[in-house]
């Protein structure tokens, strides 16, 4: 049985900045293999697995989570051997100064995000956040050595080691959306045991952070009737607006939005109540800023649902989740699929 905490930690430790997901893709392919009839890596790098083929008259359901993480990309090496970088996905510039990073060059290269020291910065300067263009990575090398180790286009990640917190919470980078990946892997395991009559595919997609690009292409290839995206959403902290947040530890956030299929949202809620799985409602007024947006309109179009795992400090190196939320998400997802496999005639009573 997949332990979601351990799976999250394993996934988090792996590198896969948007557009350079090969290491995590390889890891995920291996993890999916025991549950899959076939695993395929598409032209953009997404991992698409077939868990079971549909029996006649049953729909095909796609489970998606994105495996890419935000990071930076080397754009230039200057005369003193410092690296210029751009952001790859939404990087919070406010926390970059003096961060330790790994430049994924010819070999992993240690670096520090350069900043003026506080002894020199005046009070006013300390309130400002440098633009990406004003930042440098200090790898402690001459230009000559830097050129040997690093090339423009190499990805950069912030150094971060996962650890357990009080009350079983876990701090781990890239939990957006490796927590979702862990939920899909766990759901795949539960689904395999149940052997439903519907078709089930799992998509671990690339480049969500740079515009849901992996889902656009793989959604077409998957050619499913129902797409269920698993992503993360905001868990409340006192500096955040309450109406935009769920709560850590209170279960998956079931998405309701004009761009999602309402009957799927309703079915998630009904199932959660029936199975006594804690849940929260997340209402969005338009698109959801998740892969559900792309999957819904991929190819011929699909009905879509969205489950989000509450997460604190999104897009920082210290993202925090509660593993029970991941397990609950996986169970709700799996149960939805298993029920679909019991109801002949396509999209069933619920959908």
């Amino acid at each position: 049985m997949i332990d979601v905490t351990q799976t999250l930690l394993t996934l988090s430790a792996c590198t896969g900045v948007a557009g350079a997901e090969q290491p995590v893709a390889q890891l995920v392919s291996g993890m999916l293999a025991p549950c899959a009839q076939s695993v395929f890596i598409d032209p953009l790098g997404s991992v698409l697995a077939t868990l079971c083929e549909p029996q006649s008259g049953y729909p095909t359901i796609l489970l998606d989570a994105h495996m890419d993480e935000i990071g930076m990309i080397v754009t230039y090496i200057d005369d003193n051997g410092f690296l210029k970088v751009g952001s790859c996905g939404g990087v919070d510039r406010r926390l970059l100064l003096a961060q330790r990073v790994t430049v994924h060059g010819k070999e992993p290269v240690f670096g520090v995000v350069a900043a003026h020291s506080p002894h020199l910065s005046t009070g006013e300067e300390r309130k400002k956040v440098p633009e990406m263009d004003d930042l440098l990575i200090d790898i402690g090398c001459s230009r000559e050595r830097a050129m040997e180790l690093v090339r423009p286009g190499d990805r950069v990640t912030i150094e971060s080691q996962a650890f357990s917190m009080q009350n079983g919470r876990v701090c781990a980078k890239a939990s957006d959306d490796r927590a979702g990946v862990a939920a899909v892997l766990r759901a795949a395991e539960l689904i395999k045991e149940a052997a439903p009559a519907c078709g089930v595919k799992a998509l671990l997609s690339v480049q969500e952070e740079t515009g849901e690009r992996g889902a656009k292409a793989a959604g077409f290839t998957a050619d499913c009737d129902i797409a269920l995206a698993v992503d993360v959403s905001f868990a409340l902290t006192s500096d955040a607006p309450e109406h935009k947040c769920g709560k850590l530890g209170e279960g998956p956030m079931i998405g309701i939005a004009p761009t999602l299929t309402k009957s799927i949202s309703d079915e998630f809620i009904r199932l959660a109540k029936e199975l006594k799985i804690p849940y929260q409602i997340e209402v969005m007024a338009g698109e959801t800023s998740t892969n559900a947006d792309a999957l819904g309109v991929a190819g011929k179009g699909a009905k879509t649902g969205l489950l989000s795992i509450p997460l604190r400090y999104m897009h920082t190196p210290v993202e925090v989740t509660q593993p029970q939320d991941i397990e609950h998400t996986a169970r709700l997802l799996a149960e939805f699929v298993i029920r679909m496999g019991k109801q002949k005639e396509g999209c069933t009573h619920a959908v």
């Binding site: 002894h119 300390r126 009080q166 920082t316």
Partner: protein, 340 residues
């Protein structure tokens, strides 16, 4: 030896006022090698006999404390409010792991996601009084059953060698100075020498004030880590000093106008022994010399500092070459200053 000692010392947590663990490790290394006492503030005052008693009573000092934070409150949602201990730029702590209190509880300095920030918020640093630490507590009561108000908070950051001869660590300022003093104590000295491992430098040069009074030296050498801004884009005259160009010797900073003769002597000694050495080119910062040189009737004082980039952050960067050069220069300078 120097770098092993430095690594061991850097990995110990000791924000100002909470230097006990650092002091314990230093005392362990002093046992059997020299006489020492611990004063009322927690300073370690050590004395080692040399071959001769010098004309000038010599004191060499470094500080044991490092910058950090302190728990000032717990919020209803279980988050901890903190104050900065020492001159920390709040921009270098956001989004980083820390350890809290004697039980070494791990936590993070969190922030709401950038998706929920306004354009202005994205370009504005989170001020110190808005920062909070998440240890995973459910609520205030849960938090205060694990940590206490007044608990020290330290950076959770490893010691790392990288690049072409550099070290990145927390607390290089000033465990490097402590490591130099320990290395000297391990060696045979030409002259009787007093060593002060001081507390509370980062919160107002406080330990050194008492230490200098008790030792009552004629000449003092402070071994420190100072700001280097030798980064692309910083104007040459604002770079202060450069990594790799040897220890920086200051003529003046915000706390001290240094002894002119000792300043000249430092460069003479460096030149004669082929040790690289540079001038700190900006009047900025300050260190224990500020308290020492005005102790009692006045003390002739000089500071020898290694340049450090990103000082007062979890990721201070210094050059191994500079460290080796400083570790050579300080004893040679002390021997010359003994009879100045």
């Amino acid at each position: 030896m120097l770098f092993d000692t430095l690594k061991d010392l850097c990995m110990i947590d000791g924000p100002s006022g909470f230097e006990q663990e650092v002091a314990r490790e230093i005392c362990r290394r002093l046992d059997g090698k020299c006489q020492y006492t611990i004063d009322n503030l927690g300073n370690i005052l050590a004395f080692k006999k040399g071959k001769e008693t010098p004309k000038n009573k010599l004191m060499i000092s470094a500080h044991m404390d490092e910058v950090g934070m302190i728990v000032t409150g717990a919020l209803p949602d279980g988050m901890l409010r903190i104050g900065m201990v020492g001159g920390i730029d709040p921009r270098v702590v956001l989004g980083r792991p820390v350890t809290v209190g004697p039980k070494k509880i791990k936590g993070v300095l969190g922030t709401k996601a950038m998706h929920m920030q306004t354009k202005e918020e994205r370009s504005t640093a989170v001020p110190a009084d808005k920062l909070y630490i998440d240890i995973g507590a459910k609520d205030k009561e849960d938090a205060l059953s694990i940590v206490s108000l007044g608990d020290p908070v330290s950076f959770c950051a490893s010691y790392q060698e990288f690049g072409e001869g550099f070290i990145c660590s927390k607390a290089i300022d000033d465990r490097f100075g402590c490591a130099v003093l320990l290395t000297m104590i391990e060696s045979e000295l030409s002259y009787d020498t007093h060593f002060a491992f001081c507390v509370q430098e980062e919160v107002g040069l406080r330990g050194a004030r008492a230490a200098a009074f008790t030792i009552a030296p004629d000449v003092a050498i402070v071994v420190e880590t100072t700001t280097a801004a030798d980064i692309s884009g910083v104007e040459e005259h604002k770079q202060v000093c450069k990594l790799g160009d040897g220890p920086a010797v200051s003529f003046m900073d915000n706390a001290t106008v240094y002894d002119r003769e000792l300043y000249a002597l430092a460069f003479d000694v460096a030149r004669k022994n082929g040790i690289p050495c540079q001038t700190k080119t900006l009047v900025a910062g300050g260190n224990d010399a500020g308290a020492i040189h005005v102790s009692r009737g006045g003390v002739r004082t000089i500071a020898v500092s290694i340049p450090g980039r990103y000082l007062h952050s979890p990721s201070t960067v210094a050059s191994k070459r500079d460290m080796e050069a400083a570790a050579r220069l300080v004893p040679l300078l002390a021997a010359e200053a003994a009879n100045l």
